[in-house]
Symmetry: D2
Subunit: 142 residues, 4 copies
């Protein structure tokens, strides 16, 4: 998938917001994370443990929505508002961190939460790697 | 629409994150804004003015995605991460402000941009009104 | 909200896919329904009744996603694939019907399910009213 | 990515709607396609060729939304409405086919349209492979 994402970035006449490799890695991570969080929320509901997994379901649903939006915004290269993109990356990192912590709490009991926590950590890392690049581009643009 | 949104909030056994009226107003504003930004991007494309409206199209698409996600997150009352919700409201306010400014620049020429700018301003206001409430709830919760 | 949606449709240089009033009513219904289904899924999770509301939560989440996509597609007037738009309206009607039936089954016990069922019925009606218009436009276009 | 998607399916206590391999392939294809269509719409806007790429931009935006929703619905295994899932797969196949045809028309001129058309074809294939499985499960369930 990374190769396809990067290839689409390179065929755009607009210069990408950051290096195509870093951008493609973050986009891919966000898409994988949105899928994993949607799956983890569903798997939590299937466990039928009223109360115990409520916060886990909720933060998974929020994190899935935020990661989906982040992947879309990062995919667009036409005239970005780089300050807004940087803020969105920071928000996405926070969502992944909260979700990683909550899923991590249930990781010993539920394998889906364990896998999801590890994907959230990876996405948090990818967002954090991209933030200095978009923040630098935002400064250069002003 | 506001009445329906507020009614759904009041039927939830979870206490809402903020007063139902303020929450419903912000959710409604985000949904209206997401629709208006999607429509404005489409109407900009239909103008066939290469270059001139590029940033307007792009920020409209970003703002639509961010407002859709914000409406969803605000709609969920089960065990929220109130710090994350507050950050999302701040991001949504920034997106609406950027979009209001850009659409405002084209508002004298294109009526859709004029209408969209005014809807973005209203949504910015609604987010700003809700931020102190969720921030206060986040502090109270810790 | 209807007025704003219709106003944005009228400011587009593209002719709308159907009469602005019918289109605006269906777009609004889809947005209200997406919000209500997201709220009902959340309220069902908060009830802590393992098993009983599983299908209700799931069909609410699916219906919310399908209504959100339908509202977006209906909002765009630039060169639509009218056959695809008609199929999407049929799918959205099916999703609303399934969700109305399932929420209706729980409507005597849970007020959120009762309200949500009635909103799904209204959206089903709006989709069904629009289908002959987009289907006719699809035929005229060929 | 396929491995992660399949792993999440296997950790769910609910039996998946179809074989985990076929389901994971289709989910992955939908996510890749949603990203490629969002990227192609953006790259089309960047070409600044008023009129020529209007339908391409529009069908890309529609296809991206439909693929995102399809990936989400396929990701959930809890008590699906298998008839609705099958209809959604048929709609997604139609959207990918329309988008593949339109991008294919511009593939000789624009590399992003060429790459996007090929990804839409692959996703169309994956949807068509999954349809008999969910349709069969829908029949078995009744």
């Amino acid at each position: 998938m990374h190769r396809t994402v990067e290839r689409m970035l390179r065929t755009n006449v607009e210069r990408p917001m950051a290096t195509p490799d870093a951008l493609a890695s973050c986009i891919q991570a966000c898409l994988v994370c949105a899928q994993a969080c949607t799956a983890c929320a569903d798997a939590c509901i299937a466990e039928r443990t009223p109360g115990e997994l409520e916060h886990c379901i909720r933060i998974n649903l929020d994190c899935a929505d935020i990661c989906t939006t982040t992947a879309r915004v990062l995919t667009r290269q036409v005239k970005p508002d780089l300050g807004l993109v940087t803020s969105l990356l920071e928000l996405c990192a926070s969502a992944c961190e909260s979700c990683a912590i909550e899923c991590g709490r249930h990781g010993h009991t539920y394998l889906h939460a364990h896998v999801c926590a590890s994907i959230c950590h990876e996405t948090l890392d990818q967002c954090r790697r991209l933030i200095p690049l978009t923040a630098e581009a935002a400064r250069a643009h002003h």
